[in-house]
Symmetry: C2
Subunit: 224 residues, 2 copies
DNA sequence: CGAGTAGTTGACGGAGCTCAATGCGCGTGG
DNA sequence: CCACGCGCATTGAGCTCCGTCAACTACTCG
């Protein structure tokens, strides 16, 4: 399950090194490691889906735009997460690096080959897709049925669970990113943070650093 | 899993007949056809996911509940659609018949068996999952970035495309269902309908019958 | 030290929710 | 056959949450 790390020297951007990605148990594919800088596009909506990606370090957002130009962030992908997985020929959404990020990429042809030969690989893919589906459905529930404060609380808890056991969270993303993920405005997100601080549910030593002081209160607050 | 009654007194409900489901091209599985009445639960959140389903007639909704008890409809499934597909052991959502409905059910063990033997079957499953994922993401975009009128317009267009080429739509679901799908109230949905009628975009001969009079206007209106 | 970006705070208005009343179709029973 | 009741849909009035606009603060980088 553990990938084989090879060299993480801080070279020039887009420096590519050989890499290997583990897809499920025992299935290891040859890939390439690549760096992207803050806000750089990794792939765009409509482009040919030639690779599947895995976050090594940093964070990645997948986004779509409404007709009026307002963006909706559909998911954040943290180290270890796979993204860009689409059976169709073209990507139906875009992906960008939130901060400077490192990702591993594997050609789709290799994936297809692996699934054709190995049933375990096909099942691993299915599990990944269904995880993403569950996330998307949870997201729809959040957007549909929660108020502003509830969304932010749920977001923090989700992040705390995914990132670490420690109650300290280093937010990789800006308020604008959080707002576009939760379908709110930066002002409303900001107000929710300060309100939660006033209620002693969290501490905000700096805007990107959150300390969960009262997890119970957050869980109570996020209840839709 | 629901208790499967055979021949309830006074009606053919839950009458089971043998049936076959085509999963992708060439892969045909042995299944059972079953009837459900209006608002009847087909499976519930948390139950063991023992079957995969396909709508034969009628319509099915998949739902989840927020902590405050308000429900969010995640998707409507029309004749031909597959639902209940989850690699995990338990269902993460519930499914109910919107009106009286007929569904085909196939045991998961048969599906697993088919995917283990036939690569095409595994790919067909992947395609189904990815379709659902795309739907869920589109839904999240709608809930996050569209206003009330835009949501209703998008919903009608979506339904018109899925149902028939004719501009006449027979809504299988109530205003409450539409509201819970679009994360609005029945009042707001109703107002959106009457507004669209006032704008000569649609006709409403009866509350369940919609005639798309000006598709262009609807498409303009749904633009988020 | 100054400019630019990110974040916070306040005042105000509007889209949609809540509450309430009314209208409408349909089945049941007098 | 009509009266009544029941569930669903529509319409109206008021209120609330959150978006908009604007000012101000805090950080970072040159």
């Amino acid at each position: 399950m553990r990938e084989i790390g090879i060299e993480t020297a801080g070279g020039p951007l887009h420096h590519r090194v050989s890499d290997a990605i583990a897809l499920g148990q025992g299935v290891v594919l040859q890939g390439t490691r690549m760096r992207f800088q803050r806000n750089e596009e990794i792939f765009g909506e409509g482009e040919k889906a030639e690779y599947v990606y895995r976050v090594v370090s940093g964070a990645v957002r997948t986004i779509r735009f409404g007709a009026d130009g307002r963006r909706q962030i559909l998911a954040f992908h943290l180290p270890g997460d796979v993204f860009g997985l689409e059976p169709g020929a073209a990507h139906t959404l875009s992906a960008e690096a939130v901060g400077d990020a490192e990702v591993s990429m594997v050609r789709r042809s290799l994936i297809d080959q692996a699934t054709a030969q190995d049933v375990g690989a096909a099942h691993a893919l299915l599990r990944l897709m269904s995880k993403e589906l569950a996330n998307a459905q949870e997201h729809a529930l959040t957007l549909g049925r929660k108020g502003a404060g509830e969304r932010v609380a749920a977001f923090l808890l989700q992040l705390a669970d995914r990132f670490a056991q420690r109650p300290e969270i280093d937010l990789p993303m800006s308020r604008a990113d959080i707002a576009d993920y939760l379908a709110l405005t930066i002002e409303t997100v900001s107000r929710a943070f300060t309100q939660m601080e006033r209620d002693h549910a969290i501490d905000l030593p700096s805007s990107r650093h959150v300390v969960v002081r009262d997890r119970c209160a957050l869980e109570l607050l996020q209840a839709a």
